[in-house]
Amino acid sequence: MVSSSNRLVFGVSILLFLCLAIFPWFGLPVYFVSLLFTVFMFVTLATSWNLIGGYAGYLSFGHVAFFGIGAYTTALMMKGLHLSPFWTILSSIPAGFVAMLIAMIVGYPCLRLRGPYFAVVTLCFAFVVDLGIKNLDILGGPEGLWLKSPDLPIETIRAILFEAMLVTMMLSIMLAYWTSRSKFGAGLRAIKEDEEVAQTMAINAPRLKIQAFALSAFFPGMAGGIYAYYLTYIHTDIVFDMMISILIVLMALFGGGGTVMGPVIGAVLLTLINEGLSTFVKAEFARIIYGCLFIGVIIFLPNGIMEFFKKEHRVESGISLAENGGNRSAA
């Protein structure tokens, strides 16, 4: 039963991936390619965040830092090494690693903090990186960095970036999927529930947390690298925008933290709805409707949208560690 459902998931994903992959080559307006690109980016960010935030329960409010670090790494590499624009996409991979490395370094002391303290220390971290770059002229300082874009039609550039982001997103989702059914993910969930108990269950909590944090920084780093190239103008106000941090968290939780599909659904819905609203309604009212959306959904589905699908999960929860169980009753 498990393996057959696995095969189904696998098949559907491949199909979806292919459909998405050919999307930019139909000559649709570039905007749609860019929009989906943005959606993929947020899916990547939210899904990665979910590793540390959703599974391990460590709400990182500084994830934008990894995104920004990725963007700056790519941009600086491109400027410093005079990379031709095509290498830039590949240079997002080292950008991911830089983000991951930094995550390990800051994760080490920060992950000893719990709950809100962790949230704030990561928030501070993001500010420190942001302000640091702003103050250092060698990194572009307050001016920001300009990148060269290749001599190709805009459609081609967008399509290439689209594919790059698509692959990044797929990889991050695959990582999330693997996590949800692996020993690793199970350990993280135990840590989320009760770290002390997890430790007495022989779970090496400090190491697992660092691993989760580092992994959750890798794809944002890559996404940042690709995004740098999409934007061609990088500024701390843009790539270290606190709003991104907050959005990532909200998207993941809105969809349902600690589930594979939750962050995906959250990111897709929120990005598209927000974009759609700004198109059709007067600005202030659009925002008010957007606000009502959060309230409406959370009142009816306090644990995120994934809860809506939970009926089926309840049956399965016995055989898989994948998704959350039911409501917690009064203990």
Partner: protein
């Protein structure tokens, strides 16, 4: 062209930060643009076609400004792209406009944006940080050397606008024999301005450059008053150009020097009309700067269209590069970077009015110098 007259309206699209951090200014720009459109439509439109806007709200997020620019260009297939605000958004949109080959008339932010080799971007007029104090220093230069201030304190917010505004300061100060005693940057938000003023006071500076936005500008000014710091001159970058400065600060806001790229008392055609409208509609004595910007950018763009007699972006660009545009900021012809000749107006707030004091030909009031004591 009778065939045109029956045509669909000309659609002009893009985004403005209608909500979020920059909403205040963007709303004025939007009003300026709309006023322009009403006026044009009343006269029968451009090329015989009416004009119409699609304005998206980018929520003060430069990333969104980019996607909305692409949306306007590729989905709505707008005929013209309108200019963006603030500088970071304009910077991010410029490469997009270039790639899509759309003429983009905006504030641009500062010189660096125009040095990236973009051919479709114009500052018409630009809000050019590097030129901001040009007029002020010209005025200082014309003053007898012994009357000039001697010691300068410079505080600059650490962002592109602050950086560009302060970039020419050192050179000018040296030229005028003013010693730059303090030169500090600060990151926004400024938590407290008291220490800045204490330091300026201790160092006996007699000219204060406050290169900041509204919030930090107000704090600096209030701290100066509270500590009774009396420099001969206080110069403000951006903070003092919005109507709220005069409205909220009243008397305390007086005597601030600043620069501008256009002004409601300039003797160029159109300004009177705008002022009359603003007075009637909003009860303000003259139109706010950003209202003027919104209007002027549209003027530039439409003159390009009318000059090129076509909506072909490249033709519009080429026309703009080789002809002179007349907008409310005066006549301007654009160089290869898309910039007009440096603009060097200097303003001072006197009795709650933003007066032009330099160049001398356009002066609307005598400058108050040195600054009188606080009331």
């Amino acid at each position: 062209h009778p065939a045109y007259a029956e045509d669909k309206p000309i659609v002009i699209g893009g985004s403005l930060p209608l909500t979020g951090k920059f909403a205040e200014t963007a709303k004025w720009i939007e009003k300026g643009m709309k006023f322009w459109a009403d006026e044009v439509n009343a006269k029968g439109g451009i090329l015989g076609r009416k004009v119409e806007f699609i304005i998206y709200d980018d929520e003060s997020d430069a990333k969104k400004a980019v996607t909305f620019a692409e949306k306007a260009i590729t989905v709505d297939k707008v005929d013209l792209l309108f200019g963006g605000y603030p500088g970071t958004a304009a910077r991010a949109v410029m490469p997009v406009a270039e790639k899509h080959k759309y003429v983009y008339v905006s504030m641009g932010g500062h010189m660096k944006s125009f040095q990236q080799g973009y051919t479709y971007s114009f500052g018409g007029p630009p809000l050019m940080g590097e030129w901001w104090y040009e007029g002020f220093f010209q005025y200082m230069k014309a003053m007898p050397a012994d009357q000039r201030p001697k010691r300068a304190a410079v505080y600059t917010m650490n962002n592109p606008i602050g950086a560009s505004a302060s970039s020419t300061l050192a050179g000018w100060l040296q030229k005028l024999g003013i010693e730059m005693v303090i030169n500090e940057k600060y990151n926004l938000p400024l938590p407290d301005a008291t220490p800045l003023i204490v330091k300026s006071k201790q160092m006996n500076t007699d000219i204060l450059f406050s290169n900041g936005f509204f919030a930090d500008g107000v704090m600096t000014l209030r701290a100066a008053k509270a500590l009774d710091y009396r420099p001969k001159v206080i110069v403000q970058a951006i903070g003092s150009v919005i109507p709220a400065w005069v409205k909220e600060l009243g008397k305390d806001g007086d005597y601030i020097f600043s620069g501008t790229a256009l002004h409601n008392k300039l003797n160029y055609p159109g300004n009177d009309k705008l002022n009359a409208y603003i007075k009637k509609k909003f009860g303000l004595p003259g139109y706010p700067v950003y209202f003027g910007f919104g209007y002027a950018w549209m003027q530039t763009l439409s003159q390009g269209v009318e000059g090129a007699k076509s909506l072909d972006q490249t033709k519009i660009r080429d026309w703009l590069k080789s002809n002179t545009v007349n907008n409310i900021a005066g006549p301007m012809s654009f160089d290869e970077k898309g910039l007009p000749a440096p603009i060097n107006f200097c303003t001072q707030i006197i009795n709650g009015q933003v007066e032009l004091i330099w160049p001398k030909e356009v002066r609307t009031a005598e400058p108050v110098y040195p600054r009188p004591a606080w009331k």
